[in-house]
């Protein structure tokens, strides 16, 4: 099909965010692999003094991959997909262009400061919301700028109806804005009470309330950073790359509103069997189960879009990334809800089954989708042919193997650990001490780290492939760019 009347889309900001995606991906995942090895070999904690300890590096890993890698990927695709499905170029509005550039500058500055402060041990100690109040204000600023960009571009659009991807970007924008503001209600201690450093703060909420707000935030950060914007990506890049029409408009509509209504309730499942009121735990648990279907709806819609396209799946590595990505999306959105059932949570909570679940989603779904999206965008952004198809294939299989090692080791470790913690002798006394479980888990921690390392190698291949494309990829004519299948060097 292709674009009948190509506009001169301006991809400046998209390019910037593409580089940020690659850079933060490398940083965040390298740290991740390192701390995975620390779990197996604790001596690695002592290599770099206080800066090399697990406790310093873990927030760097989570923030690096979630708010560095993933968010850059979201923004990069927004500045690409947004223009194309709204049929309007950034170049048409110098205001939106300036907003986009400022958005990038404030964002990168925030993330770099996040790296520095987290390494220095400056943290609010709320998981995934570790950044202190000055940085939270910067996050708010770049988020508002993104909002201006979204609604500004929508305001001057030529395409009357908003495409599905746009709904999901808007959902991500609105929900994260609300989550960020409410979970980061902080009291700067120095300015309020003259206590502590000027950048230090404490939460406005206390005790159980703080935990509730924290996990309402924590879980929905997964929803609106790792889910909705990634769904936005697959709804654009899979039909685009394959040239297939989306299977069902109705299914996309029902899945979208189902997800919107149900997701915000589910955070309570992080606090099952805690001091949170029973009815809220029940809501969290039950809505998690209902959530399976709206999640699967999008994945099924994408898989059915590929009906009869087996040939493409075999020959195009980008399609492989996206189809396996939606399958991992199904796996993790079935796994999470089942772990949220109270009786299963009684075993799964606090075990390695949970990081296993998280990485099914982040490595298999988020990572694969962003990798594919960047690969798809690169030839269009730089008018160059992708440097090597073989490297893409190698990367795909290495990373798939990495994910399989990661999730199977964490399943084995988690379920074994959970059952050992519960095991009792014939008299009802606990059979194992904590160290017994650690001994059993050690080989699986090693396997997990190796799985992570394979995935990281894939990330380096990806970065190299895109770098080589920019440097020495074959120049493309306009006609070669405006096709569905991404142009790639078939023999290299």
């Amino acid at each position: 099909m292709g674009n009948q009347n190509p506009l001169a889309y301006d991809y400046t900001v998209a390019k910037w965010f593409l580089w940020a995606t690659i850079a933060f991906g490398i940083i965040g995942m390298t740290v991740g692999v390192f701390i995975a090895f620390q779990m197996a070999f604790p001596e690695l904690n002592y290599l770099f003094g206080e800066y090399g300890t697990f406790s310093r590096l873990r927030p760097l890993h989570t923030n690096g991959v979630a708010f560095g890698f993933t968010m850059s990927g979201i923004f990069a695709t927004w500045y690409y997909v947004g223009q194309r499905v709204l049929k309007v170029s950034m170049a048409e509005s110098s205001f939106l262009m300036a907003v986009g550039k400022l958005h990038f500058i404030v964002y990168v500055l925030t993330i770099l400061l996040a790296v520095v402060t987290l390494l220095s041990g400056i943290t609010t100690s709320k998981e995934y919301a570790e950044l202190e109040w000055p940085l939270d204000l910067m996050v708010t600023l770049f988020w508002v700028l993104w909002g201006v960009s979204i609604f500004g571009l929508i305001g001057i659009r030529r395409e009357r109806t908003l495409y599905i991807s746009i709904w999901y970007y808007i959902a991500a924008f609105l929900a994260v804005a609300m989550l960020h503001v409410f979970n980061n209600m902080e009291v700067p201690t120095y300015f309020v009470a003259g206590v502590g450093d000027w950048y230090h703060s404490v939460s406005l909420y206390a005790g159980t309330n703080d935990a509730l707000v924290q996990w309402w935030y924590g879980h929905n950060a997964v929803a609106f950073v790792f889910t909705t914007p990634i769904v936005a990506m697959i709804y654009y890049f899979l039909p685009k790359e394959s040239g297939q029409a989306v299977y069902s408009y109705k299914l996309s509509l029902l899945s979208f509103w189902g997800l919107m209504f149900v997701y915000l309730w589910a955070g309570g499942h992080h606090l099952i069997y805690s001091t949170v009121p029973d009815w809220m735990q029940t809501m969290g648990s039950v809505f998690s189960i209902v959530l399976i279907l709206p999640s699967w709806g999008s994945a099924i819609n994408m898989l059915l879009t590929m009906k009869g396209e087996w040939e493409q799946l075999q020959s195009n590595p980008l399609i492989k990334f996206m189809v396996l990505g939606s399958t991992f999306y199904m796996l993790s959105t079935l796994e999470g809800p089942i772990q949220a059932i109270k009786s299963v949570n009684a075993l799964a909570h606090f075990t390695d089954w949970i990081p296993g679940h998280v990485h099914d989603g982040t490595l298999g779904w988020v990572g694969f989708m962003i990798i594919a999206a960047m690969y798809h965008m690169t030839p269009r952004l730089f008018k160059k042919e992708l440097y090597s198809k073989k490297l893409m294939e190698t990367q795909f299989w290495l990373q798939t193997m990495g994910i399989v090692l990661y999730f199977s080791s964490m399943w084995i470790a988690g379920i074994t650990q959970g059952m050992m913690w519960r095991a009792t002798d014939e008299f009802g006394n606990l059979s194992y001490s904590f160290i017994d479980t650690v001994t059993v888990l050690h080989p699986y921690y090693t396997i997990r780290a190796i799985g992570g390392a394979l995935y990281l190698i894939g990330i380096f291949i990806w970065a190299y492939n895109i770098y080589k494309t920019m440097k020495s990829g074959r120049e493309l004519e306009d006609a070669e760019v405006n096709v569905n299948k991404s142009p790639m060097a078939e023999n290299r």
Partner: protein, 299 residues
């Protein structure tokens, strides 16, 4: 890509197999374990099963339907109906949710603490029934297992109190404990509160030292006179106690252990918390025997 189905089925089976090889012997009849194992199988089974269905459609089906009028950057949309299986299961989960909230575990009535209390009561009852005719040998093993989980964290695996972290249970009392009781009084709640030992029955430091050493060293040494003149009237000449009057301060008795577990204990080292209601009578009997054996050095 062709063999992806076979590979994922094999990987899933191997995975479940490895997990089972670890936990097969500890799953037991614990519902949480059984449900979790079932959960693992369901997650893999459903995902792989549904995945296979769609892979087959990619291989054998063709895209069809009426296209919508809109088109975004070349992307079209079919006006296909919802996949029926998806819609039915979605409705099913909604019906289940309504059942859960209003009938199964009503939002206004279900309480996790209530559930826990009921489960514990049922378990304790079964436990007492199962061990109602417990043999000496089982009682001894039960005591050891009980001690290592519930007592050893403070009193040490050997029961020696880990260098003063907690009371040394390899002897009934050490000298500092006796001295503390004489100076501060002592109440094990074994006698009525008017009969409990008041502070200051002895005031001479030398005498206190002597009698403390006498009791702590197993009723030998120079404090014998002081003991017999001041302590024996309640605790007995041999220190074995007088029911309703004074505690046994020579050996551990089941009464004493139960009283300390119920009420906790404040002594020279610090405080032990109360464990009231946590254990059954059989468990308390078992651990009493075990602690007395520790004292006698029979282990």
């Amino acid at each position: 890509m062709k063999n992806i189905i076979i590979v994922s089925v094999v990987v899933s089976l191997v995975l479940i197999g490895i997990i089972y090889s670890y936990v097969g012997n500890i799953i037991g009849d614990d519902m949480v374990n059984i449900l979790s194992m079932l959960a693992a199988i369901l997650i893999l089974g459903i995902t792989v099963g549904v995945g296979v269905k769609y892979v087959n459609q990619m291989k054998n089906d063709t895209a069809s339907g009426e296209l919508a009028d809109e088109n975004w950057d070349g992307i079209g949309e079919y006006k296909n109906d919802l996949p029926i299986g998806w819609a039915v299961v979605f409705l099913g989960t909604i019906v289940w949710a309504i059942w859960y909230w209003f009938a199964g575990y009503p939002l206004w009535a279900y309480s996790q603490i209530g559930e826990w209390n009921e489960e514990v009561a049922t378990h304790q009852e079964k436990f007492e029934e199962k061990w109602s005719n417990i043999s000496e040998e089982d009682l001894s093993r039960m005591g050891e297992a009980f001690f290592s989980v519930n007592c050893a964290p403070c009193h040490g695996v050997q029961g020696d109190g880990m260098d003063g972290k907690a009371a040394d249970l390899t002897k009934r009392l050490d000298a500092s404990a006796v001295e503390y009781a004489i100076r501060n009084g002592s109440d094990n709640h074994l006698v009525s509160e008017y009969m409990s030992m008041p502070a200051g029955l002895l005031w001479n430091a030398v005498e206190i030292k002597q009698v403390s050493n006498y009791v702590a060293s197993g009723f030998t040494g120079i404090g014998k006179d002081v003991y017999e003149a001041n302590c024996a009237s309640c605790h007995g000449m041999d220190g074995m106690g007088i029911p309703g009057v004074g505690a046994n301060i020579r050996t551990f008795t089941p009464d004493l252990i139960k009283a300390v577990l119920d009420n906790g204990k404040k002594g020279a080292i610090g405080s032990m918390p109360s464990f009231k209601g946590r254990f059954t009578d059989t468990q308390e009997k078992a651990v009493s025997l075990y602690i007395e054996k520790l004292r006698k050095g029979e282990l």
